[in-house]
């Protein structure tokens, strides 16, 4: 199982994400954003949290136009796995790989704390290690995590079972309490909370472990 983590100027969760993949048994390589092509043998590409390009224009907007991101779009079109966490989720929505947009938190504050999440579907290789309806605790750290979609799109996401997680106590004004969504082919996950920050008991929790492990297990089994 080979994982790649894209590093943009301003990414700051890239190493944590690499450790989370490694601990789950993946071989990880870091990929600088100026590379024009992703290695073709990658099973999964991680887009990490941080403040790519200083959040200029809009969070994730400049990173979404980076050469490596064009290669990421091709990777997802080929059915490759990808996960975008926090700023990575913002990048995935800016590219259009995932629907919706992340706006400024409703209370206008940067929110940095552990939050409760409810697992809304397990029909996804990232989520099969959890139980449907399970509540887990994962930290958030963002200023722009207020997920916005139209009513029609929200209904579509619900119909297709593409809401990965909802907040048990919505911290940011997100539509439908949405904390994470998956792509139509169920192989791309975007979420604002940081599962890579809870893979070690010393960091305050291990509720993120199941996500990385179930993904690695499904890829290895395939």
């Amino acid at each position: 199982m080979k994982a790649g983590v894209i590093v943009f100027p301003g990414s700051n969760c890239d190493r944590d994400l690499a450790v989370a993949f490694e601990r789950a048994g993946a071989q990880v390589q870091m990929i600088w954003h100026k590379e024009t092509e992703l290695p073709t043998d990658l099973d999964i590409v991680g887009v990490p949290g941080g403040f790519s390009f200083g959040d200029y224009l809009r969070c994730g907007a400049i990173a979404a136009q980076s050469p490596i991101t064009r290669s990421l779009i091709k990777h997802t079109e080929r059915g490759g796995y990808a996960i975008g966490i926090c700023n990575g989720f913002q990048v995935l929505t800016e590219t259009g790989i995932l629907p919706g947009a992340l706006m400024r938190n409703a209370n206008l504050k940067f929110i940095c704390k552990p939050v409760g999440l409810k697992v809304e579907t397990t029909e996804c290789d990232f989520l099969s290690g959890y139980a449907q309806g399970q509540e887990i605790t994962v930290p958030v750290a963002h200023h722009d995590g207020n997920y916005n979609v139209t009513d029609e799109k929200l209904a579509q996401l619900r119909d297709e079972g593409r809401i990965a997680f909802t907040y048990t106590d919505n911290p940011n004004g997100s539509t439908g309490d949405i904390a994470g969504v998956i792509s139509k082919n169920r192989r791309v996950l975007g979420m604002m909370p940081h599962p890579e920050r809870c893979v070690d008991a010393l960091h305050g929790g291990t509720d993120g472990v199941a996500m990385f492990r179930s993904l690695v297990d499904s890829v290895v089994a395939a």
Partner: protein
């Protein structure tokens, strides 16, 4: 050639920043401000002869996120 692009949140998209500004105006004693919407202005200096089509393309691809924002182009 100078071009001005106004980017505003679409009607119906809640604007927490505009709402905070409206509140602050009220606190300053400015009564009757019913609504504030905050957006951004982007000024471009482009080569003569750049078509409106090209500027529209810039807006669609980068300057605005058309999921939540509208844009208006003005050639100055």
């Amino acid at each position: 050639m100078k071009v001005r692009v106004d980017v505003m949140l679409k009607t119906g998209v809640l604007d927490p920043q505009g709402e905070a500004v409206r509140h602050a105006l009220g606190n300053l004693g400015f009564d009757g401000v019913e609504k504030v919407r905050q957006g951004k202005v982007i000024e471009l200096d482009v080569a003569e002869g750049t078509s409106e089509e090209q500027i529209k393309d810039m807006c669609e691809k980068l300057l605005a996120n058309t999921v939540i924002e509208n844009y208006a182009i003005q050639v100055l």
